[in-house]
């Protein structure tokens, strides 16, 4: 067995705010600070999607990166790029758009389409700034 992991990056630029509607403005400010700014702020996000499998004999590929890229573009970049994560994104309706929650919701969207193309989604890394990111392994705890 020669399991190997391939990763593809895509990027999107979006606005959001961190705000709990059940809390007062003071409480929101206390917890979220300037991230709770009423008129939004935004980021250049990058998403790194990792798929595992064995290289196919005919192609040397775990999965064709063109297919992986297309899935991410269609299901993640298209609905998120140049959008407001709180207002514009159907799959985030009712969900506080922290980077953590965003990564978890993206997993649900792309796991099955990747499987249909022969890959096994192994990890999503979502980078918000040069100083912070989240990693999600479908709920698994590799460490």
């Amino acid at each position: 067995m020669k399991t190997i992991y391939i990763t593809r990056r895509e990027t999107f630029n979006a606005a959001h705010k961190l705000h709990n509607e059940h809390w007062s403005d003071e409480k929101n400010w206390e917890v979220f600070g300037k991230c709770s700014n009423a008129n939004w702020h935004g980021h250049n996000f990058s998403i790194w999607v990792t798929v595992k499998g064995e290289p196919l004999k005919d192609t040397g590929f775990v999965m064709n990166l063109k297919d992986l890229s297309q899935i991410i573009k269609d299901l993640v970049i298209e609905p998120l790029d140049h959008k407001n994560l709180n207002l514009d994104v159907p799959f985030l309706k009712g969900i506080l758009p922290s980077t953590e929650n965003l990564a978890i919701e993206i997993w649900k969207l792309i796991e099955e389409p990747i499987k249909e193309k022969g890959g096994a989604l192994a990890k999503i890394k979502l980078v918000e700034t040069e100083n912070n990111f989240v990693e999600y392994y479908g709920g698994n705890q590799p460490f």
Copy 2:
């Protein structure tokens, strides 16, 4: 004469949209595309401020980077970070917040305070994404 150029970077995250209020939505979409999304989008901006001068004999500095950093933080990062460039920023009132216009307005804010600390503002570079940035030399054309 030993003129040398020093540069300091600071960063801010902000929301904005490109939208000309004198135009129809169709015209805005045609020109600005997804950058005109009504509910905003956002970026991790970085600003690189370049100051020129001769190194002082006592310090080897053109200008103390602590002073330069403080000026940028007070006059640029404080009003822009985690803000909406169209709605929240007094010095951008009535100005379409393209990266070009933003750089020009920032120049006006920091030129004099830098001079008061002994430096000569030479250039502002404003990076919006890994694929685009603007550079402003106070209107000069070095090339």
Copy 3:
């Protein structure tokens, strides 16, 4: 006058070799070293195209980045990406594909189309590796 400079990056991956056909293999090796390998080598190139002008009142743009990006993609990336610079590129026929020569030839291709869209080509930066790049100002010497 508020001249400002905007820059757009695009990328391409290509093979090439540095080889002077009027020289012996020994001479080629002496001058070009491993860059003269008969069976080629390659790079991830990135090209940064800088255009100058004044921001337009209606858009805040020197030039629409969509137009600039399209020109680069059509005239530079399309003919160069995943190609052999010595064999596959009509506009490099008979030209030794050093990074210097490549930048000069690209200038000739895109200067006029950029002008037609209202911009003035000011600089091309062509990055070959993380350790080297060239910059071309149309033959001008800003410094």
Copy 4:
């Protein structure tokens, strides 16, 4: 037990193409797209080699990075740098040089020499472009 992981990066620039010789040109184009260009293309590759172990009492090192660097340079960079992965590399003979296959073959080359210097090869990360890379754990599946 204080197992820790150390990583060393080295780089090489190479040409290759993705092409299955048992397939028609049409089939190769359909699967590999522009990566199948007959006259090759190329990349700036970077390889990150991770070794695990406990820090030695005398040095604080899992393994001397000079030794690790020398092994990578001798066995990986020397045969691959400024070469054609399809034509010039003995250890890739008969192997389709996808990034996946390349990582797997490199593992075989460096595992034993690293062990002889007291380290345990834990991971190879091979970066092809800023948008894709592969990771290989010797066939293990940490996640």
Copy 5:
């Protein structure tokens, strides 16, 4: 269970040397090379601290990044930034300041304070140069 991993980066600049006081200068030079320079050398270090947990319902956070950042700044950056790792740092007294040992000592400092804020320290990555870094999982071996 939706375990997710969040990472925060902080940076510090420090001097150090690698030198075993029980060895002759020759032996130190043989093992550590120029890293044993008597008058020190230095690096821009960056530290990436990873915490795991489930996103809280009220915040979408595993742990507030402000708290994580403050812990790193107080316990790691404050004692290490612009310091000499061999001479100035109480928690490194008697410890050879290799990157490996530094990461292990930092773990001990921040594990408990992170737990008090509701997070579980999962990994420390310490980057010394663009070509090398170490990763520590508290002694665990995820791969």
Copy 6:
């Protein structure tokens, strides 16, 4: 005339402190802050050397990058790498090792050797951290 600019990067890691020996410790602290730490601190420096000229007909090169790289390694990296800029470097004797002064002194060292190989030194960029750098044009003021 087709003047073009080529740039080569090299790196070194060094310790230094900013300290004016004619000042009290208090005055040094007031001006230089933690950069005046008595026991030094350090950085990963990178130096970008730019040479201008016209591409030669036979090579397509302004100047052979191998020669440029060798000059930088011999005259800059060798004396500075893993050294103490205040104590170990003959060409910095008596000079306060600010990044500004360091760039100016390096210019004097490499200008002539580059000329002997056919190039004209045009610019030195010296990067101290991801947040600051200096640029020196031999005293010229391009902007």
